[in-house]
Symmetry: C2
Subunit: 241 residues, 2 copies
């Protein structure tokens, strides 16, 4: 009897009705299994229980989004190599891009989080909630329809792929200017060149104050330097944050 009552009360839960309406407005389609979406929108700062927040759905949504964007780029750029595709996908799905999309969609208004914690709104919780939302959509309506939603609505309206393609993040410049501001010396060094099949593979190292802090591999020296600089920035960000 208890289960039936709770089922009925869920059916008529006014907050679920409101959420369904809000999501329909946000997504352009009516969600069926609202409980997935409730979970997707619950940040861990809002719940005591470990498995009642959106992090598992974020894991799932991240993977689904990655696959859908991979196919999209594979078909959009039929002659570009896997290095290009990997780099462009990482620009589309990186936290900054997704957080920005989530804010512009208005998803931030639906996310449940501890508003007292001022640090949270500066982190990427809305971008993470967007990934969780994609996980919820996938569980709710399946791969094909999720793919359609992501490509025909999300990417089309909120992500400028051509601009992302044209923008070179230039991690090397970023690293050098950071080091200059903080009084560190940075140098790049070719650590190794070796043949892999018919191609030459370069390993470039980043030295900060003559200590090796990161390395990068690529078939071009320029790219290997960029990869190494990006990794160095990650290592430094962990130390500084």
């Amino acid at each position: 009897m208890r289960r039936i009552t709770s089922h009925i009360s869920n059916l008529f839960n006014p907050s679920q009705k409101e959420l369904t309406r809000n999501l329909e407005h946000l997504l352009g389609f009516r969600p069926i299994h609202i409980r997935y979406y409730e979970l997707a929108l619950r940040h861990r700062s809002k719940t005591e229980e470990d498995d009642c927040n959106n992090e598992r759905l974020e894991f799932l949504g991240d993977a689904i989004l990655g696959a859908i964007i991979a196919e999209y780029l594979f078909k959009k750029y039929p002659t570009q190599d896997e290095g290009f595709l990997t780099e462009l996908r990482s620009r589309i799905v990186r936290r900054e891009t997704l957080n920005n999309v989530a804010m512009r969609m208005g998803l931030n208004k639906l996310v449940q989080y501890n508003v007292q914690d001022k640090g949270l709104s500066r982190s990427h919780i809305f971008g993470n909630a967007l990934e969780a939302l994609i996980g919820a959509i996938y569980l709710d309506i399946g791969f094909k329809k999720t793919q359609h939603y992501i490509l025909k609505t999300l990417i089309k309206e909120y992500v400028d792929v051509d601009t992302l393609e044209a923008t070179d993040p230039n991690y090397k410049n970023k690293l050098l200017s950071w080091a200059q501001r903080h009084g560190h010396s940075i140098s790049f060094e070719t650590i190794e060149e070796k043949m892999e099949g018919q191609r030459r593979l370069f390993t470039i190292g980043v030295l900060m104050n003559n200590e090796l802090i990161a390395t990068g591999n690529s078939y071009s020296k320029k790219d290997a330097g960029q990869v190494a600089a990006q990794k160095a920035l990650e290592v430094l960000a962990h130390q500084i944050d």
Copy 2:
């Protein structure tokens, strides 16, 4: 006229017929668009042209496999957190696991590569070809059927998920024993502890001969140490390889 002739000759290409037969035997279903599979099985050591090897399909297949395994683990372990799911997925899809699966399936017999290059057979070209094959299967028969093939055949027959779950790779031990063999000193240091929401986030650094070579973050010190050790091993592998 030339195009028609080439089309007809393709239709009756005896090597395509043989490949179709071999793949049907390997996969348990008859492939429809054989050209995807031809590409998936062509390593770059076998072709001069950049876009005629399997690397683009490897990018696609890696993403599709990642999504399918993500959902599989999400449902198999309904109460485990995203850290557990991420770690277990990485064990399933890592190069060593996939290379091993590819060899046991017999995929290595179908991959076209330069057999003169002795280094290649020691690298992970068969595991990479397996990812490319998954990309080809996806383009050929779509998400749902690819998912069915991967879960009901590939994983079921060749991957022991429960053993992978139980096996702790213990990167810390691996790093320490490597350092001992090579006469280096290794130490772990807590670089930072900070609150993120209601949880404490630890950053652990790996120092080799008193130089910081890698850092790792996690909500537990033990895990952060493992992540840092794993990254240190990657940095060292790039220098040593």
